[in-house]
């Protein structure tokens, strides 16, 4: 009944199963999964952007599958100690052609398996050669395959700045991964990279994006901005240092997101810890990051430079416990900024409270009915003058920590506010 003819240029170059396995297994440790931030329109062809992002599946490790995360090649000339594709290890090597990547993307996309492509690569032959291959692929995907879905492109450090600019015309988002939170650790563990080789292109992209916007030029230039990723637990930096770097990256390079990845040992090396670092630490960093970006917190309020975030309670609870003189707040009067600082009250709950209290004086009963989670919040609020929490600080801390343990496993679900915040990495609280 339908006659959809395949476009004549379609070459039917289906990637081999084994190549796919090799190129995706090495890409999976990049934790950035988001497909949000781009409203790219369909201009004939296939696909468009969904500004809120979209999760297509979830793997048993609880992570969302949104993009086809794949390397062009895992055959690397660099030798980063923490990486399973480093030059000095003996693993099966593979590379894919631009056509194979494009067809895989389009065929997965039209079956609604994915929201787009996350293309990365090991440094194959040279940084310039690798970057050229990446740019060629995305350009092909956009122009010949007419694909308007989401594309996240990983930048290769030390590649020609012209290639970087060209890439940005076709990708929705680019990222240069900091990987390690200090120059010293970078020198030790990723000897061919340095801070400047990562920061330079980031600054270049920010500058060019500003110009592009100021001049209202046609087309798109990284509509979803830039992100980066840091490995947590492979090197000795404290959470305080990591978050300060995060804050300055948001400020200086205008990054959209910083991702944190718990260190997982995939190769043995005397310079690296042999054990996986705690997933809970990664989670606390995401929570703190969320507080910085959306709740108006300052890094100084959260953790001193030479310390880690507490593990027993989340960073907002920890802050509230240090500032008990500010609590309890009356939900019928507190301004939005203060409601957002109450442990357990997230953006959605705060909005509900603001809306409902215009009509009536809210009681605890009302809050329950409105599905505001009170387990933590009750120690920090009064509703219509009534307080149902625990007054003793130590007891509160105990209760909050016990609540955390109960939640473990389903940790984020109770905090789940908007469907768009489905990512396991949001850290909203």
């Amino acid at each position: 009944m339908f006659d959809f003819v395949r476009p004549p240029w379609y070459t039917e170059s289906m990637i081999a199963q084994e190549t796919l396995r090799i190129l995706t297994e090495s890409a999976k440790y990049d934790v950035s999964c988001s497909s949000s931030g781009s409203g790219r329109r369909n201009e004939g062809g296939i696909g468009n952007g969904m500004p809120d992002g979209c999760c297509h599946s979830f793997t048993p490790d609880g992570r969302c599958v949104s993009l086809l995360k794949i390397l062009m090649s895992n055959d690397c000339v660099f030798d980063c100690k923490y990486c399973m594709s480093r030059r000095s290890v003996d693993v099966p090597r593979a590379s894919a052609t631009p056509e194979e990547i494009c067809e895989l993307t389009v065929d997965f996309y039209k079956r609604n398996y994915i929201e787009g492509l996350f293309l990365s690569s090991a440094v194959h032959i040279s940084p310039d050669h690798t970057m050229e291959q990446l740019v060629r692929t995305v350009k092909l995907l956009r122009t010949r395959y007419c694909f308007h879905g989401y594309v996240h492109l990983k930048g290769i450090p030390k590649a020609d700045p012209l290639l970087v600019s060209e890439a940005a015309r076709y990708a929705d988002r680019m990222s240069y991964n900091m990987e390690l939170p200090s120059e010293k650790s970078l020198k030790l563990l990723a000897p061919q990279k340095d801070k400047e080789s990562l920061l330079l292109p980031m600054r270049q992209l920010r500058r060019e994006r500003d110009v592009f916007r100021a001049e209202k030029r046609k087309g798109a230039f990284l509509p979803a901005g830039q992100t980066t990723q840091m490995i947590v637990g492979a090197s000795p930096e404290h959470d305080g240092q990591i978050l300060r770097l995060t804050e300055s990256l948001y400020r200086v390079t205008g990054l959209k997101r910083v991702y944190y990845s718990s260190y997982t040992p995939v190769v043995e090396d005397a310079l690296l810890p042999a054990v996986q670092s705690a997933a809970l630490r990664e989670h606390r960093l995401y929570q703190a990051d969320w507080l910085l970006r959306f709740y108006g917190f300052d890094v100084e309020e959260l953790v001193p430079e030479e310390e880690d975030l507490p593990l027993d309670v989340d960073p907002k609870c920890a802050w509230a416990l240090r500032n008990l003189h500010l609590f309890p707040v009356e939900v019928n009067r507190a301004p939005l900024e203060m409601l957002l600082r109450v442990p357990g009250i997230g953006g959605r709950s705060a909005q509900k409270i603001l809306s409902a209290r215009r009509y009536t004086a809210l009681t605890f009963e009302h809050l329950k009915k409105m599905r505001v989670v009170l387990k933590r919040a009750r120690h920090f609020i009064t509703a219509n003058g009534k307080f149902y929490g625990e007054k003793n600080t130590l007891a509160v801390r105990g209760l909050l920590a016990a609540g955390e343990r109960e939640d473990a496993g389903a940790r984020q679900l109770s905090l789940f506010d908007t469907p768009a915040a489905l990512s396991a990495h949001t850290g909203e609280l």
């Binding site: 199963q17 999760c55 793997t59 490790d61 609880g62 039209k110 009509y359 789940f416």
Partner: protein
């Protein structure tokens, strides 16, 4: 008095007019068990009355019909009553009540609407198409709420040149895009001929799904929280196999979901159903 209605908007509005002043009114679409002495009436849609009722309600709240549409799509047994209590409050207060979340009627309605929207949002990601030999795409789904046509604008915008069918197998209907028009149509059983390379793409996808998982960080509760088990059965990546193969029955969260079987991708997509504008 119990007012039975067929779940349509017109029948609801007709019933609403009848029931508005009845303190003990219960509006329902289901098979409600009558207790002794309880009176009931089956309300048929009356186009004129419904239009009058709609006009009146729109004067109080210009967006309220959007809420009604979503409420009536809900798969919850009590949707009729939830909608009734919410609209009775709009009518009593003669203004929008949407923000008054401390009221039971509003809280229930807004929760019901949230669930319908959440499912539509989730399905934008969880729908899986198969490619037919003709090049058209076919996706079976079995949503809790009646949302398959809510997905049409989303997929039309991203696949404008590829005809596709979103088949709600539980309600035996389909939302169709033929490359030029979108419409809703009744569709019982679909027989489809798969494209020659469809199984190969599915197996590449299964390979991908297996490769990106990090087994040392297993968090199955979280996985199931984000992607409820009832959506798994039409996914070629077969998440249940990935976590150690559950028996098929256990994959269905609700009885209704257990009833509808997966269509067999064989034969041909028969007699295109007569177009009916939604």
């Amino acid at each position: 008095m119990i007012y039975f209605f067929d779940g349509s908007k017109a029948a609801f509005l007709t019933a609403f007019l009848l029931a508005y002043r009845d303190e003990d009114a219960l509006l329902t679409t289901g098979s409600h068990q009558l207790t002794l002495g309880q009176k009931s009436v089956f309300v048929r849609a009356d186009a004129q009355k419904a239009a009058r009722c709609e006009q009146r309600l729109l004067q109080f709240d210009e967006h309220c019909m959007r809420d009604l549409d979503l409420l009536l799509r809900s798969g919850e047994e009590m949707r009729g009553q939830t909608a009734f209590l919410y609209f009775r409050m709009i009518a009593a207060r003669k203004r929008p009540v949407r923000g008054e979340l401390a009221e039971n009627a509003v809280a229930d309605a807004s929760e019901c609407i949230r669930r319908v929207k959440l499912e539509a949002h989730r399905l934008k990601g969880f729908v899986r198409f198969m490619e037919c030999a003709s090049g058209a795409l076919y996706a079976p789904l079995s949503p809790d709420n009646d949302v398959c046509d809510l997905l049409l604008p989303h997929f039309c915008a991203r696949l404008p040149h590829i005809p596709f069918v979103l088949h709600d197998v539980r309600r035996a209907k389909a939302a169709v895009w033929d490359g030029a028009h979108s419409f809703l149509a009744p569709l019982g059983e679909a027989e489809i001929v798969l494209a020659a390379d469809e199984t190969a793409w599915q197996s590449l996808w299964r390979q991908y799904y297996a490769s990106v998982n990090i087994p040392s960080r297993e968090r199955i509760r979280q996985m199931k929280g984000y992607m409820p088990v009832r959506y798994w059965k039409f996914m070629p990546e077969d998440p249940s196999a990935a976590i150690g193969d559950l028996p098929f029955a256990a994959r269905n969260a609700s009885d209704a979901a257990a009833q509808d079987g997966a269509p067999h991708p064989r034969g041909s997509l028969q007699s295109p159903p007569a177009p009916r504008r939604p």
